[in-house]
């Protein structure tokens, strides 16, 4: 089997070690992202999701125990090419304005590739390519002011800025939180397309179990700094794992079939999406 894009093993991470403020964010974390996969990382607030995301492109590096191997590089190693890694693994955060550096959309997206030495027509084409990928028409958006964008547009500009570096892996840290349903759907459509057309490996960190159910191939559950479950989406979000022990709930579709089953309806409880729940209910009670 090919080496995973990201392989994190028995990782430990503490903030402010050796001080009274010490916080053990990660205690024992295992995580895998394989080529061509969309993996969701879920867990209640404080579980360590963002800390783990920061390890995926060497914004943080192992200082205690554990191994982090990303695209063939060991991030703890002194020979690790961090600049290369940050280009290859794009991080998209929840607050896009913290990621916006320029006043105009085009300049903002060009910022990263310009740092890499791209200029002139090549740079312009790179920006156009990234804007195409997120569905922002170049002519219409390139000279727009970043502050005047809607929430959904801003997320897509931030995503385009990351894509302009042509990454191989995309890590979306709560990148749709606070977006309206149409904005969430837009961003998720873009993610699906990037995955299908460019073959990017994708990590989605989200508190929205319905969103996770609709997009992820596999799910990893973090709880109090530990990996407590990992597997195919239907296995982890299915009826067998007690997600509530980890401050989580099944997607709404799963909650509905569970409630019906608890009340005595004989139906397939594996549903994680509304379409699957509709089918299960229909099969159980069709006239």
């Amino acid at each position: 089997m090919a080496e995973p894009l990201i392989a994190i093993t028995a990782l430990r991470h503490a903030y402010l070690p050796g001080t009274p403020m010490r916080t053990d964010a990660l205690k024992e974390v295992d995580f895998r992202l394989h080529e061509g996969e969309i993996v969701a990382l879920v867990g209640p607030s404080g579980a360590g999701k963002s800390t783990l995301a920061h390890h995926m492109n060497a914004l943080l590096r192992p200082e205690m125990t554990g191994h982090v191997r990303v695209l063939g590089q060991d991030t703890a190693s002194r020979t690790c090419d961090v600049r290369l890694l940050r280009r290859q693994v794009g991080l998209v955060f929840q607050h896009p304005h913290q990621q916006m550096l320029e006043q105009l959309v085009g300049d903002d997206i060009a910022h990263g590739p310009a740092q890499l030495g791209l200029e002139g027509t090549a740079l312009r084409e790179r920006v156009r390519e990234a804007m195409d990928a997120v569905g922002l028409p170049f002519a219409q958006y390139v000279d727009r002011q970043t502050f005047a964008l809607s929430g959904g547009e801003m997320r897509r500009v931030a995503l385009a800025g990351v894509l302009a570096l042509r990454p191989r892996v995309l890590v979306m840290d709560e990148a749709t939180t606070g977006l309206d349903p149409a904005g969430k759907a837009q961003v998720m459509d873009v993610v699906r397309r990037l995955h299908a057309e460019l073959g990017l490996g994708i990590v989605i960190i989200s508190n929205d179990m319905d969103e996770v159910a609709g997009i992820a191939d596999r799910v990893t559950v973090l709880f109090e700094g530990r990996t407590v479950a990992a597997g195919p989406t239907h296995e982890i979000l299915g009826p067998d794992l007690a997600l509530s022990d980890y401050g989580l709930l099944r997607p709404t579709a799963g909650q509905i079939v569970d409630r019906l089953a608890d009340r005595g309806l004989d139906l397939d409880r594996s549903a994680v999406t509304l379409a699957e729940a509709e089918e299960a209910v229909w099969q159980a009670i069709r006239p």
Partner: protein, 283 residues
């Protein structure tokens, strides 16, 4: 007769940009929030929801039109303190509003500044912490709370001021699933106790908890009515970029397949509706 608590009349508001241009955030919005009602405000990003929320207690003042809280015009500077004590507001990121070093002091901060004396102050703090399920965290530092506890602490601090109305601007957006459920239960409980609730949210299922729904689109009122009425307008909602609560999507999907059921809004109602014929035949 329900008594109006907040009256919004032909409200328009524009933000000035650095370049001197004006961005029209609200145009000619009219609505009434009656005493004791639970109102959800929906709308896509940029539709003016947060601007409207900030107009409800005079954080922003109308360019045109009027907002009155129990008859007091929010533009009347002399009444602003009274208005803010009637209509309290919680934001998405509660970290920005914590000032004290313990949960208890945080909750006491507001009423203490109002000059509330000691036995009553203690009583208010105890009751606000009990209502929000934070009594066991009274001596902890607010910064050490989980996100869900922080959101509830923000609500507790407002409750201690004994407002008539609580406005929550996407206070559930950042919460994990279990914390979000707890927050919804808290709001429903406070509403049952008589508090007026205005909840701004992107979650359609939360809007189904409310008694009334107001949908904003491009700064105007697009839809207004009971959750049943508003979510029945499927085509219009889709046009605006919104959808329905999951239970409604599922029930209308089943209805389209030929199951003789009416669309419902909540998971509770869906389960009851689907099992009703079953249980009738067994009973």
């Amino acid at each position: 007769m329900p008594r109006p608590l907040i009256e919004i009349e032909n409200l328009s508001f524009a933000y000035e940009t650095q370049g001197g241009d004006a961005v029209q955030a609200l145009s000619n919005v009219s609505a009434t929030v009656n005493e004791g009602v639970y109102l959800a405000i929906l709308g896509p990003n940029g539709s003016g929801k947060s601007t409207l929320a900030k107009c409800l207690n005079g954080l922003l003042l109308p360019n045109e039109g009027q907002v009155r809280v129990m008859g007091l015009d929010t533009r009347d500077r002399a009444r602003l303190l009274r208005i803010r004590s009637l209509v309290a507001m919680a934001f998405q990121n509660p970290d920005n509003q914590f000032v004290a070093t313990t949960v208890e002091e945080e909750v006491a901060f507001g009423p203490e500044n109002l000059g509330i004396s000691h036995p009553e102050l203690e009583q208010r703090v105890r009751s606000a912490l009990a209502d929000t399920g934070l009594a066991h965290r009274a001596q902890d530092n607010p910064r050490l709370l989980s996100a869900g506890e922080k959101a509830r602490l923000a609500v507790a601090s407002l409750l201690a001021m004994q407002p008539r109305c609580l406005v929550l601007d996407e206070s559930t957006a950042m919460l994990d699933p279990v914390s979000r459920v707890r927050m919804r239960e808290l709001l429903t409980r406070l509403h049952r106790q008589g508090l007026t609730i205005v909840l701004i949210t992107h979650y359609m299922d939360e809007a189904a908890d409310a008694e009334q729904v107001l949908v904003l689109h491009q700064g105007r009122v697009a839809l207004q009515g009971s959750p049943d009425e508003v979510f029945a307008r499927e085509a219009r909602l889709r046009e605006i970029g919104l959808s329905g609560p999951p239970a409604r999507l599922l029930s209308s999907g089943l209805a389209r397949r030929g199951l003789p059921i009416q669309p419902v809004l909540t998971v509770d109602d869906l389960v009851a509706t689907l099992l009703a014929p079953n249980e009738a035949s067994h009973g």
